[in-house]
Subunit: 340 residues, 6 copies
């Protein structure tokens, strides 16, 4: 199978153990993560060849980051080196009514300091069939927005499918900036992933009758949003994740695939959360897996939803689920019985 290319930042996650708050911790668990890296890792774990493209400083911490990618068979052939630091964030895991909290410290990272010449897209995309990025990458600076456009252009020239997860981060850029830049990029995008907040924040497209905090969602509202996106940006495939946050411990989770004017909803899962970070990335990976394997629309969205459901029962940011496990859940076995 031809390979998938992901492009984005790769940063360190530091979190207290269990449900401790920052102020209670004297140890942090360390993991390396990034929206696009998580997609690549999840795909690699499912057996798809990948290359993750980023830029890292030349130091011993980068070595640890690289080893994490290699451990999960993610290709690192095209990673650029240079710059000052690896970005990081601190995560405090919430529970019940207490929300999870993130403190970011990702400015001045080697990746945000990328230059166009760090990435030779023609070489990178050789023998590839899919290119994936998220809204975080262009948000890290004008240079990265430019490089994203270059990457997308090359991808289209070489016949790759391009997928993008809107992934709006309000502490990285304003809604206005996000809209201006993302609209330039959406021209090249074949598969768009969003949740309804992203759609509203970045694209100013709104679902009717939705109340995020109360968790009341309306199916028709989502179809409406997907349809508007598909039409306005001429995007073939739009996927929307539907999270009902009951609390930091329990969420309902499902998703919608919109294609050819038709909407396909997945089953809804009631998830008792282990770690919800990376849920969206694992959805993206599941979706790409379905598309690459030629699953039909319903199976594709079921696979993506089940993959991201399982992710949220797994510690850390990455979905370490095999296709067999995901398909078993798609097939209806969410009973959690012991497999001997």
């Amino acid at each position: 199978m031809k390979k998938v290319i992901g492009f984005g930042d790769y940063i360190m996650r530091l979190n207290p153990e269990g449900y401790l708050k920052f102020i209670q911790a004297n140890k942090f668990e360390v993991f390396y993560t990034g929206a696009e890296a998580n997609v690549c890792t999840s795909l690699s774990y499912m057996g798809i060849p990948t290359q993750f493209v980023t830029r890292l400083p030349e130091n011993m911490i980068s070595e640890c980051a690289l080893a994490t990618l290699k451990r999960f068979s993610v290709g690192t052939d095209h990673i650029a080196f240079g710059g000052e630091r690896i970005g990081l964030f601190y995560l405090e895991k919430g529970a019940s009514q207490r929300p999870s909290k993130i403190v970011y410290d990702r400015k001045y990272s080697s990746f945000s300091d990328s230059k166009s010449c760090d990435y030779d897209w023609k070489t990178i995309m050789q023998d590839a069939e899919h290119f994936h990025f998220t809204g975080i990458t262009p948000a890290l600076g004008e240079n990265l927005a430019e490089i994203c456009i270059e990457a997308c252009k090359t991808a289209k020239e070489l016949g790759l499918t391009v997928s993008c997860d809107l992934n709006y981060r309000k502490n990285l850029w304003s809604k206005a900036d996000a809209k201006a830049t993302m609209e330039k990029l959406l021209k090249y995008v074949d598969v768009l992933i969003a949740n309804e907040e992203d759609a509203a924040d970045v694209l100013d497209i709104h679902a009717s009758n939705t109340d995020i905090i109360s968790g009341k969602l309306d199916r028709n509202g989502y179809i409406e949003v997907a349809d508007k996106i598909a039409k306005k940006y001429n995007i073939d495939t739009v996927a929307i994740t539907l999270r009902k946050s009951i609390s930091a411990s329990d969420n309902d989770w499902s998703a919608l695939l919109y294609r050819g004017g038709k909407a396909y909803f997945s089953k809804e899962y009631h998830i008792h959360l282990v770690d919800r970070v990376g849920g969206g990335d694992s959805f993206g990976a599941g979706l790409i897996y379905g598309l690459l394997n030629g699953f039909d629309e319903q199976k594709t969205i079921e696979y993506a939803a089940a993959a991201s459901c399982l992710k949220q029962t797994i510690e850390l940011d990455v979905n370490l689920s095999k296709p067999d496990d995901i398909l078993a859940l798609v097939g209806g076995d969410g009973s959690g019985r012991v497999q001997r």
Copy 2:
């Protein structure tokens, strides 16, 4: 803002990690706690100046206890030193149908051996506006009951508000002794905190139609209890916490404020518990915070209930929540979404 004085024992909590039983543990987590200390710590964390008054032995373990108070900005200027030991208890955290268990070893503590001359209340209460104690303090010995009365008298002389949490502990004294002593102290109390078990056990005041184990509670019963207490003891403000124990993992939690003949109920929270110990103390702190800040009755009880809800999603005995977090929950956001 003027400061709050808390007076009580400060003891070591030793608990196995996670949900291990005592018999499975070869490590104990160590924390320092006490009903009144927890109220002070929670208030300090919310930005209120506090002084916690207790008596500790002169050894390296006390130094650790003191450092815990200082870490959270609780004033330690008036702590007395002397005596033999710091009290302690062992806590085994329950889950689902399995109850949490506590083994106490707090006799002969430096605090229980307090003498009147250890505490110069005039000096201690200078520039203070609130004095808080719980039923545990006078339960530790006649000397402490006497010292409590002295403290209360001074408080009233100096114009402080006095709050008391009934906090009945059956292994410290009999119901009869508790009633006799607490009735002497209630003369000085402006704000009384109780749950309906305490009211029944200590004051022999009963709610109609309540069944603690089954978790069936009746709102009118609670109003009735509060009203009886307010009238019998001439207490301005009575607050009652309402816990429905579904299991050791899940509780419903709300509270009632009774003042001026009117009852104010908070919202009810379904809590997936992280650590329920200290729930009552965090409620007391929330209540005092509301009173000190001049919140109206409804806002006060909502704040106190939300504060104590959040506490129960946090490990260990102390509510490490900022007013912003508590007010966000009061305002309706218990969805636990990640805050980036």
Copy 3:
């Protein structure tokens, strides 16, 4: 009270901490376990004298295994020594929709290599009143099936009650082999424990209208199964556990005792699981405890169900609950309130 004899393999359990997957772990928790050993340990912890009979290699790891039994007062007087290794399995604990997974590595164990001369049943069963084994023991080899028959014969000669938990393990033998061997053994069995899967897999006896995965169970179906077993194999007492797997985090759990043509159902518990492994073994221990203590049928099945409910709120494979705790739950207190 006379003692209970358990006979079976004793193996090492290795599991990642918390909810980590194998691939995420660089530490394993170590415990020693086995279906019959767990029954003995649970009974010892409830105050019943026991002897656990197995065969272990002569090395330092066996010493650890032995120490685990001794720690919980299980008699080890008749354990045979020799052979090459202690068996083991790796357990990955699931959560929500993600199932727990077990990788077995128990072949070639010292126990599976047992010879008839390793066990002098006359001596072992002296002063005993109950003999317990499960379907795992004869599944480990023809030699063990033979030894089981010898043990059962001696038990009947000496007047012991014989109990057996079907405990079908598909990776140890085929359904056909299991049926052929177990039917030889059932001749000696007075008390049979099963779940409806085991009954179907081993005995080819089926409940009507049951759908394991969906969790829909039908009471009459279970009575039907119990009745068929009792009649076909002439077994006095049949006990069936009823698990509704909602997810890997939440299960409903109850049980049925069938005796003298009458069915006794226990209460059903909604369990928020801590560790479900060993649930069946703790049920067996609870059942034997009830029988040994002459509880009536309803109390016996309530005790067994409550015991196994509590087990599933405790880490690792063994039920460390005292009769008082179990009887409190039988009596209706599953509220999990703190016991001070």
Copy 4:
């Protein structure tokens, strides 16, 4: 082989992990220990049947303590129950120039509250051949001094060998009190264990030319001390441990056996310490083991010294070394090469 009886307090040890100071710790490792219990545990681990006699409160913490004894096959048949608490101490492990520190909290323990009727020495000492106690036991109160005398008298009546380790603890009693009481007890003692500090502090018998802090020791001085003790108190066998404290990380360690007017010195070991607590207890156990097995004097002292050397390379208070390991070290292999 006939059994060994130990009599003393059994208390909880709480220590920070590794080399952390108290003030740095938020976890304590938990272990149960006591000078005489450690002797019994070490002997049991070497294959000698033992019974440890103490008094414990009836609570869940005692259950943990008991399980520790049972785990290592120490007999618990004659332990009395009652009283208020288990004693405890906090241990901070030193390193290099930084000394280890202990904070005691052992007053009011169930054991210190023992009454004569708690121990039926005739029954306890049936089938026993050795009785061991240390100077800590009579130091815990006059009642315990009395009970010790009763135990010693019974021991002599029944023909047991009596051994005593002086074990002077300055925070338990004064030198004068220790001398008065111990001299009463030494009448019954056949084997006395001491270090030269104990001999000086308790018996006022001094070695010439010794400087503890500088670590300079003089062999003749020790022989002189042993000889004086043997003669003054008419004691057959006197054993003295010789510790040269180079630092908290490195000690030199050897011992002297004095019997029949002759002195036998063991080899000296340079120990890179893992945990020096319990070194003396393991020496006592080694000595008793040698005497029980009829080793000659030189072999006995070599065995005891090697046993206690190995203990100090093992975490926690108890020597978990088998006779084969100890004899290998006696035989000259201290090279620490991997044993496959």
Copy 5:
């Protein structure tokens, strides 16, 4: 006693547990540290009032940093808030021939972004008697060099003693820049602390016949260096630490105080290292403590050397030793015997 002011960066230390290398770690221990903060913490722990002055971002991680200072009673009244991030470094602890390694990520910190107006030195230094900074502070930027000069000028105006530790960090600035800036600052310095590498690198003053790597040091060479510094920069008191690195596990450590043309050498300690980071800071604190308490020169340098010896037997960067412990070591007890 009047207070000591420290001024410098406060950064996060992240290190793998024990002796793990970065590449082996999936957890980091977290601590907050800084050369001047460590001096303040150590002094506070010895009972000296201190205020540590720095600048921190307004986020939850700063809250943890602040709580660390408060825990150890370091005053935080004059800490400025603002800027983007807290600096950090990664530390891998070496052993034997393997050196410790540090990866810095401290650029763009809130402190390095300090402005003159962040610090009102007149107010800060009120009621203070000592001001301490190190060469790290001016190395963080020209703004900080300027602020240092302002602080020094105010200190001299207000009659404070000024101490400075050269603390040259080659990755922060060049030798030439360091020399130019430090020479401006040395005008205000009364007490200079250095090791011979710093003296050579920053001041271009060299000891004769020294070979750092081989560990051969020459006393006269050090006197020569101290004398040159004292004379060239007109500094009253010069203190030099003398480290002989035998390996990452074992160091010899002593120090020299030079004052009034006379040299005072401390004892030399052979340290089996627990954590050598912060050794120099604890020396500075010890020196200041001696000066503040009016110790004579020999006692001062003995105290400073013993303090820093003990630090290196303690985990993390801060010397948590009380004056009694330090004076005991000065007095000759480095035997590490257990203190009960």
Copy 6:
């Protein structure tokens, strides 16, 4: 650079944390290791392309083992799958006079069950320049001895250098069997690694005047052994490691390279051990690195000795040292000073 092929078993290492004994542990650290795998991992970490060839079962534990290889960039392209289990061993780390202990459980492993058809040596060795195996591989069964011969023959046909570490394991085969088989294999070996025990045990070649336990070694004796081996088996390059076991905590370590009739000794290192397991493997990797890079004999043996010295200061079995670190130690810097 052309690649290095390693061939051998890959097994799980389970060890208690720190210096705990098996009987004290309730957690095991997990690592995957094997003599030849360690050589490959070390070489990969130094930048040499490698392929490790083994056979693993198809289960989730193998997945973890594979991920460990991939993490360190070891090629896994030619690993065969099948068979029943991954072998394992339990390791208890010793200290001071207490030796480390290993309990093996590696029989019936997938690798020991290898068949000739599992390995296509022509393909595997394409583009390779070095083949490495140890005496453990042929010791695992006649099939593996045969496969080793096939591999060696192919290696010689394709012009690869063949290196072998004698690595005698007495619990795998007798000295006689080892001699018979290894002599068949030595025909193909260009580089032989041994210690003097292996030479004596396997080849019956003895050093004069050596006493392993006492640690007295004689240089001429080693030259004599190397010379005999080189001549008898016509081997170009013989390398011998020289370990003086002072204790389980301290070893002296050096090595000898013998080539063209000349002996080259490395420096001797006094190592304060962190983990000595894998010392020999890291020596082999260092030696091969030197040979591949065309170092002269003295530099080669210095590099190999320094590499294996550093390994023994690192936890677990693998040398995670970069050439720069090793060359710095060769160059004389073993002072362990912090590298910032």
